[in-house]
Amino acid sequence: MMSFLISDQSLDVKAVESVLSDPECGGIVLFIGNVRNSTANKNVVALEFEVYEPMAILELEKIRDEIFSRWNVKHVALHHRKGRVDVGQSAVIAGISAPHRAEAFEACAYLMNRLKEVVPIWKKEIFDHGEVWVTPHA
């Protein structure tokens, strides 16, 4: 099973966890990515996400297929915010459930890495004065 959601509302960890819960799965790994208050010594007040939604879902489905082909994993979830997200709020929740934890950890790390490489989502950092589109590895 899988659960992909792009939302302009607060993300719900419990909702992600319930998608992943399964009597066959001894391990659930959840990653919660929150908006940090600084970058490169500048105060960040919020992030603003733009999402190419239909393509984002297609790319997430490809990542899910890659995960299923590489690890013994039962469920994959990725919930991501769009629009403005203030400091301290969650921008992304990624989750994996699997019979055993090692595979869940690896697959969850892979899910987040691929999210940042291929899923068409862009973030803008909003500072006290001004804003800037984030370029990866900057």
Partner: protein, 80 residues
């Protein structure tokens, strides 16, 4: 033929809008479209490594465009 262009992130700012329609000669491919866009919006040249998606799929080399295609300008992604 007409093609719908979507411009995301910095590309949307450079172009000044998030979506537009362009009229192209038949048999235009994505390389020609890129040239066309960079002539119309010279600031796109500053966006060194944007890629294109045609009908919600990344292209790895030039593809022929068809009437009604949706082409997205994809600057480096930065989700998460």
């Amino acid at each position: 033929m007409k093609v719908k262009i979507l411009a995301f992130g910095l590309a949307g700012e450079v172009i000044g809008k998030r979506s537009l329609e362009v009229e192209l000669r038949d048999n235009t491919d994505t390389d020609l479209l890129k040239e066309h866009l960079m002539l119309s919006y010279p600031d796109l040249r500053g966006l060194l490594n944007f890629t294109l998606a045609v009908n919600q799929s990344y292209i790895t080399s030039a593809v022929q465009l068809r009437d009604g295609d949706e082409v997205a300008i994809i600057p480096p992604v930065s989700g998460g």
